[in-house]
Structure formats: C-alpha cells, structure tokens
C-alpha cells in the first residue's frame, strides 16, 4: 500500500463532505526507469518517481476532474475546492448519472517473478545493447530503441465504498528501425510492450531477431507490384489492427453517443441496431478481454472499480455489445462492462479497449491458403489509417508474399493496399484459422489531452475474398 493512500482517502472524503454526490480518488505511486538508445549509444536515461492523484467529483449532475502531482494535504484540499466549484459551474442540461453504486473491495496484481524495482540499471542497458546489436547485425542502418520499466501501485477509492489496490508492472520497449531498401527506406516500429516482471524480456531477443530479419528481407526483396482483384490471407498482426480499428474503436460507447465528437470522432455504430445489424460475415466474432494476463491491456478491475470481463463486440457478424463505462452504461440503458481506463493519474477514466481479437475459427493456415488461386499472404503492415467514424480504412502491407494456385511463393509483394470500408472488409472474410495469437502490442491513443494506453490485439489468420487493390 502506498504511503500516500491516506491522502487519496482524505481528498475523496473531503469532496464528499463538500457536497459531492460521488467522489473518487485514483492514486498512482510508482517509479519509471527509462533509457533511449540510438545506433548503439545510450543517449539518455533517468529514474524518476511517478506520483500523483486524480479526483473526479459529481455534483448536481455536473462532473469535474482535478489532479495534483504535489502530494501534500494543502495541494489536495485546494484541488478539491476547485473540483467542487467546476462541477457546480458546469451545470449540464442533462445530468450525468453513474447508475447503481459500485462498491468493490479488492487487491490484484500483475504477476512479476522478477520485480522491476530489483533490476539494475546495468541489466536494463545490457538488454538494450543486445537488441541494438541484433538490429545492426541484420543491416538495420538507423536504430532507435526506447525502453521504459514501470512499477507502480494504483489505489482507487470512491465515496460508494470501492477500494481497490493494484500492484502493476509494465515493460515498454519500442524499436524504431530503418533499413535502406532496393526501392525506398523501409521503416517499422517494433513494440515489445507487456505487463510483466523482468522475466518478460526473456523472449525479446528471439522476437527482435525475427522482426529485424523480416525488415531486412523486405528492404532487400520486396519489389513485385500487384494490381486488380485478389484474395488476401492476413496474419494475426494485421487481424489485430483491423479488430482494433474497424471494430474496437467504433464499439466505444462514448464515440457512439458523441462525447468524443471533437476529438477521436464519432462512430458508424451509432446507426446500427445492436444484436441485429450485420457488419460482417458469419465467420467474424470479435472479443475484447482485459483479463488476459501478461498483455498490455491486462486489468482485473477497471478505473471505476468495475470488475473486468470479456465483451463480445461482434458475434457471428452481428454488432453485439459496445464498450461501456458507468456513465455510458446508464445512457445505453444497461451497466458498465468494465471499460473505463485512464493512462495516468492526471487523466480522467474514459472508455478504452484492452485486448481485442478475432475469435478462432475452424481452419488451419494451410487450409486457408490452399483454396486461394491468386492472392497475397500479408504477414505485417506499415502505413494505416481510418476515418473518425471508423468506416473508411486503409492498410498497407509490409512483409507480403504472392500466393499462386494454393501455394505461398517466394515472391515478395511490394506494399499492397487494402482500402476498404469496415463492413466491406468484415464481409469479405470467408475463413478464420484456429489460432489465437496476440501479435500486435501497441499504444492506443484517444481523447484530448491524449491518453495513450497499452493494448494488445490479434486473433488467427483470416482469408478475405476478391479484394480490389487500392
């Protein structure tokens, strides 16, 4: 338990005593060790405390958020006085309602066999040097690795009786890699983020080696352009980003009802009927599940104290369940499904994804491929984007191979483009493999000020029919 928990309790109680119908304090007390390496040199590093409290206050249906990084009673009291005033002043026409009280008491933690607090600076730097060497040996000419080890206690206390302590451990490592290619520079972000202790780095060498070799291969060989209509067999990495962008984001309740209108945007799900509207073929079932240990999106209770559970966003091709926090649970006539996350103590909890993936189907990868006359096996992607209703998407292939008459050839296809609507994309799927692989760790951005939260995404391989290349 953090030594500042009393301060969080004090702030929550003080807000309640000032008339708040609901008050909440979320304390983060931890530390971050950070290193940046560029082409073999550590160019920066630090070890800093990571501490602060964010408060939410609901009063007369008006909501406020205040945060302090200065953990003193004086600063907290001052902030709460402001929070009470802001909530009163906001006086919205439609009162905000969090629904039935939530009063969970729990302790949960990320299983960390080797605590990040016990890992020496030298060990961390050695690991980064090892990764950089791998990239260099693969001919990656420009390399930057950013590493961050976070260990923290998160303490959530509310006026409704919720009291949750979480012991967190997160390893973040990004490689920004550039290889000179035969036609252009090839660039990739390699993300090794995971929620774990130091033991999570054990597979990094192998993963990085594989990624760097793939980049080098694309740079050296990918020059075959394709046009026209083809089939795609798409890897779990690409399936992951598709599930995240074309399904996870539009399923966010706050987007659907417009709260992100001026920031991350709205959602084409607004005009669908949940449980009725078809958005893809019957092969498409997409789940969202924060309870998968070791992933970037892992949590047992969300940042409003609601117990986490799996959500089925699309079931057999039908839009099924949106992601909801307490406020939007009420607005959808139901309750929260544990989707409130906050990226830091100084950000309000909002609706976020955690781990989004396509549920396994019945095919093996070989079965998916053997029925393709002419197509592309897309192992990974590079440039991508999607409109703010989450309907018009684009994915550009990175490591891609031509499929001819049911066999994957050695011919590397250069940057094939899928430019599809969400429904067009999901409707083209006629097979999903039996795998569930989380090959896409990432930091998901949303809202203003931006909140980057770690997420995972993945699934099996999918087959998409008759895609006209962009």
């Amino acid at each position: 338990m953090s030594s500042f928990a009393d301060l969080a309790d004090f702030g929550m109680e003080y807000a309640r005593d000032q008339g708040a119908s609901y008050s909440e304090a979320r304390l983060i007390d931890g530390q971050k060790s950070v290193f940046i390496m560029q082409n073999g040199h550590i160019i920066s590093g630090s070890e800093s405390p990571w501490q602060g409290i964010g408060f939410r206050v609901l009063l007369n249906g008006g909501l406020s958020f205040v945060s302090v990084d200065n953990l003193t009673k004086k600063a907290v009291k001052k902030a709460i006085d402001v929070g009470i005033k802001l909530a009163k002043n906001s006086n919205p026409r439609d009162k905000i309602d969090f629904g039935e009280p939530v009063s969970n008491e729990a302790k949960w933690k990320v299983q960390a066999k080797e605590s990040l607090r016990d890992v020496t600076q030298e060990t961390m730097v050695t690991k980064l040097q090892e990764l950089d060497k791998i990239a260099e040996n693969n001919g990656i000419s420009t390399r930057a690795q950013i590493f961050e080890a976070q260990s923290s206690t998160k303490y959530l206390v509310t006026s409704e009786g919720t009291r949750i302590e979480a012991e967190l451990s997160m390893l973040k490592c990004f490689g920004l890699l550039t290889a000179k290619g035969i036609l252009d520079s090839e660039q990739r972000f390699v993300d090794l983020t995971r929620s774990t202790g130091w033991e999570g780095t054990k597979t990094w060498t192998e993963e990085y080696e594989e990624e760097c070799a793939r980049i080098a291969k694309v740079a050296a060989q990918a020059d075959h352009k394709l046009t026209g209509k083809i089939d795609f067999v798409v890897s779990p990495e690409v399936v992951g980003i598709i599930c995240h962008e074309n399904c996870g984001h539009p399923s966010e309740g706050d987007r659907i009802l417009g709260r992100e209108g001026a920031q991350a945007g709205e959602s084409f799900w607004r005009d669908l009927k949940l449980g009725e509207s078809r958005v893809g073929s019957e092969h498409v079932t997409i789940a969202e599940d924060p309870t998968i240990k070791g992933t970037g999106g892992f949590y047992e209770f969300d940042d409003e104290g609601v117990k986490a559970r799996e959500r089925l966003l699309i079931k057999d091709g039908i839009a099924n369940e949106p992601l909801l926090n307490r406020e939007f649970g009420v607005r959808f006539g139901t309750e929260s499904n544990g989707s409130a996350r906050s990226s830091d103590f100084n950000r309000e909890p909002i609706i976020r994804m955690a781990n989004t993936y396509m549920k396994p189907g019945d095919f093996s990868l070989d079965e998916l491929i053997e029925d393709v006359k002419h197509g592309v096996l897309m192992h990974s992607f590079t440039e991508w984007n999607i409109d703010d209703r989450r309907y018009q998407s684009k994915y550009v292939g990175f490591e891609c191979y031509e499929i001819q008459n049911g066999e994957v050839t050695d011919t590397m296809v250069r940057r094939p483009i899928m430019e599809l609507t969400s429904i067009g994309l999901f409707s083209s799927i006629d097979g999903v493999s039996k795998d569930r692989i989380f090959d896409f760790p990432g930091i998901c951005g949303k809202s203003d000020p931006a909140q980057g939260v770690p997420v995972y995404a993945g699934g099996g391989y999918i087959r998409m029919r008759d895609i006209l290349l962009g």
Partner: protein, 459 residues
C-alpha cells in the same frame, strides 16, 4: 512565479554544485491548466490540472547524463532526488549526444502580450463562453456541437550551474469546436488559439460560427471520385501536411530516421514564395518564450528561404555535432510515454503570409477540391515521405470559381515533399494553428497544391 518552486530549483542547483557535478540544470514549472469538454450541445466535464514540477538534468564525467522529473514536496525530497539522480548519472555510459549546454549569461527580453492579468478570474465565466459558442454554431445551422476548450497559465524558472538563469510567465487558450448535422458525415470544424483568453471571445465565437456554417454546407455530401486534383488546403490542413515539413529540419529527426531533409541542405524544395522560420519570439505564439531550456535566448531561425532549405534548428550540443550554432531551440524533449532527451525542439513555425484572397485561390479552371480539416496522417516512410491522410469535416468540389458539391469518403494518398514542391498559391489569411493534429504552433495561410492524388475505398 511560485517562490516555492523557484527556491526548490535553486536548492537543487546548490546541492549539485556542492557535489561538483559537471552540470546541474533545473527547470521549475508551476502551471494551472483548465479544460472544458463539451458534446451534444452541453458541457461534459470541467477539468483542472495543477502542476508543480521540477525537471533536472545532471551531467557527470563529462557526458554521462541523467534527466529526471518530480514534484518537490520539501527540501528533503529535493535532496533525495538530486542525490538519486547524481548516482544514476554516475552509472550511465557517456552520451555522444551531449556536448555541453549554454554557458553565456544573457539578458532576456521579457515577453510582452503573453500574460493575461485576468486569468485567475477567467474560469468563472468560461462555461458561459462555451455555451455561447454552442449557440453560435447552432445559429449557423449546426444540429450538434462538440469541442474542447483549454486555457491556463504557466510560470517557468530556469537555473543552470553553467550560468544562465531566468523566468517567464505566459497564459494561453485553445479551442477546437466541431459541429455536426444529424447525419454522421456532415460536419465542420473551427479553431481559435492565442495567449490572452479574456479578450478572445470574438475569436472563439467566430470559430464556432465557422464550424456551424461548414457543417450546414456539408449536408448531402457526395462520395468523392478517386483521381488527380489540385487541393486548396485550409490553414488547419496545410499546417498538418506541408506545414509539418519543418519538423524534419531537426537533427534529432535525422538521427532517429524520421527526417526527409537529412541530405537536402541548400536544395530548393518549394517555390520561391515559400519562406518559413522557427520563430521563438512570435507575438501571440503559443511556443514563444524568452529563452530555451538551456538558457539560450530565443531567436528567429529561417528554415526555408525562397523555397531553399537553409537551416536546421539546434541546441548547443546538436550544433556542435552538426558544425553549426545553437538557434535557441535546446529542449528537454518528451519522447514516447516518459522518456526524456536533451535535443532541439521547435517553437512556432511561421510561414510567410501570401497575397491571394480566398476568392483568387478558388478562381481556377483546373479539377480542384477544398479541404477544411484532416486527421490520421500516417507515413509509409518518413524519409521518402509517402503518406496518406483522411479529410474529415467539410470538403467541396471547386467549380467555376465557387465551392460547389460537398464531398466525403476520400483519402489524400501522396508524397509530402512532392506536395511541398507543388504549392502554387499562398493565401493572405495566415493564422496560428494548434490542435490535436498540429502539435507545434504553426502560422500558415490557406494554400493551393497542384496534382494531388485522391483515393477511395475499393469496396
């Protein structure tokens, strides 16, 4: 400036100096930032962040560097952090990126017109200003209005054992307002930003009116057809696209493989009427300050002169690496989630204003569209600058010198350097742009780019 944070900075420098480190440099920031978020014509939440922060750079052994950050509670806490950081720096390997900081003690020119004396009372009335903005957008034809309004104040104090010492204070406001019709894909955006919130109401209302008007004009938008078009970019779009090219005139971007300009010094990359500077002294600029994070006075650094790349921005260290001189852009750069780095960072990008009215820009017989907003710009390669971006909000075909059919559902898929070279006319309506998609305050006009590639979904 809070005397407490200033005294903590001074105390940290004193502690470090006594321990004979090569450098200890502290930046104390005391800030109060506010936000009102609104959607569906009502306020969703009001926020305030209280930040009391000390960023500390410690250098030992010539170039072993540690950069840390904390919120000081008392002198004991400061002492603990300074000692921890010195210990950390002693374990670091030498950084080739660190080659010293500013040692000349300069007299800084105080900022004028960057601090709103009425800021402490401004919050009382801010919700009512936002409600007025919502009503303004609705009166222009919006059905639903959403947005985000930031305002606040910041006091900064710098003390470096290398010599420089100084402080500055500033205030700011920044409104993004977006208006919608009932349908999802008819919308418009307005932006307003500057330094003096209490005198900004007219600009805020104008932004809301713009958003409302564009959402109304964008009703019944038709899917655009893929192909080649000239694009007239609003200042918001121009700032995100061609206006982001100065980002590459930064040694950090070059070293990280994120620059298209690494080998192009002295090359003509844009028409001669394109002149761009990094201006750390720009009046009303959100990136303006009297000195950088090392204590070097801010200055105006031309980046493109008559379309030719003439300078990179520099810190003291990067200047030594690139055989140049500091341009007063030394900064503690936040990298990704929490990493910090001493490196050059931009202040305000200032494009020279053009001389074309909007009517002149749309007076063309070529196949042309007008785009008012975009988002989600992503590159296949930052070096070759192949990229795509998605227009959102109002966009129109331009026909017979007028905005005609509203259009939707398309993507600009092109090459940024080619577009920079293809700018063929610059408007005379330069404004400051800073919003979600434009992190560096950018002063830029509406501009027209020839022969851009539009793509659309194939199914």
């Amino acid at each position: 400036m809070s005397e407490t944070i200033q005294s903590y900075v001074d105390y940290a420098i004193e502690l470090g100096t006594k321990q004979e480190v090569d450098l200890i440099l502290g930046i104390g920031t005391n800030a109060v930032r506010n936000q009102i978020r609104f959607s569906s014509n009502k306020v969703d939440i009001s926020k305030q962040w209280n930040e009391n922060n000390l960023e500390l750079i410690v250098v030992v052994g010539g170039n072993q560097l540690a950069i840390g950050e904390f919120s000081p509670r008392n002198e004991e806490h400061v002492k603990e952090r300074v000692n921890a950081q010195i210990k950390f720096a002693n374990s670091m390997s030498p950084s080739p990126f660190y080659q010293g900081v500013e040692s000349t003690v300069s007299k800084f020119t105080p900022l004028v017109g960057h601090y709103d004396d009425k800021i402490d009372d401004y919050g009382e009335n801010a919700v009512s200003v936002i409600n007025s903005c919502i009503n303004e957008a609705i009166s222009e034809g919006a059905k639903r209005v959403a947005g985000s309004y930031f305002f606040g104040k910041k006091n900064v104090y710098l003390n470096s054992s290398a010599g420089p010492k100084g402080s500055h204070s500033s205030t700011s406001y920044n409104l993004t307002v977006r208006a919608f019709q009932e349908e999802l894909d008819a919308s418009g955006q307005g932006l307003a930003t500057g330094c003096i919130p209490h005198s900004a109401e007219k600009k805020l209302l104008a932004a809301a009116a713009t958003a409302g008007k564009f959402s109304r004009m964008h009703k019944n938008a038709q899917p655009a057809k893929a192909g080649k078009y000239d694009i007239i970019m609003s200042p918001a779009v121009a700032a995100n696209l061609v206006g982001s090219i100065p980002n590459d005139a930064n040694p950090l971007a070059v070293l990280m493989g994120r620059s298209a300009l690494g080998d192009k010094m002295g090359e003509k990359l844009a028409p001669e009427f394109i002149n761009v500077a990094d201006n750390g002294l720009q009046p009303d600029g959100l990136g303006t300050s009297p000195f950088d994070d090392e204590g070097t006075p801010r200055q105006i650094t031309p980046i493109f002169k008559d379309g030719v790349l003439v300078n990179f921005i520099h810190s003291t260290s990067s200047a030594k690496m690139f055989q140049g001189e500091s341009t007063g852009n030394g900064s503690i750069v936040s990298f990704w989630t929490g990493s910090k780095l001493m490196a050059p960072a931009p202040t305000n990008y200032v494009f020279e204003n053009g001389d074309h009215s909007f009517e002149e820009l749309i007076d063309t017989n070529r196949k042309t569209i007008y785009v008012t907003c975009n988002w989600y710009t992503r590159y296949t390669s930052k070096i070759s600058t192949e990229y795509s971006t998605i227009p959102r909000d109002a966009a129109f075909l331009v026909e017979n010198g007028e905005l005609s059919t509203p259009i939707k559902n398309f993507r600009i898929s092109d090459n940024m350097l080619r577009q920079f070279a293809n700018i063929d006319a610059l408007g005379n309506d330069r404004v400051q742009v800073k919003w979600w998609e434009v992190p560096v305050p950018t002063w830029i006009s509406t501009l027209r780019v020839k022969n851009c590639r539009l793509t659309t979904a194939t199914q």
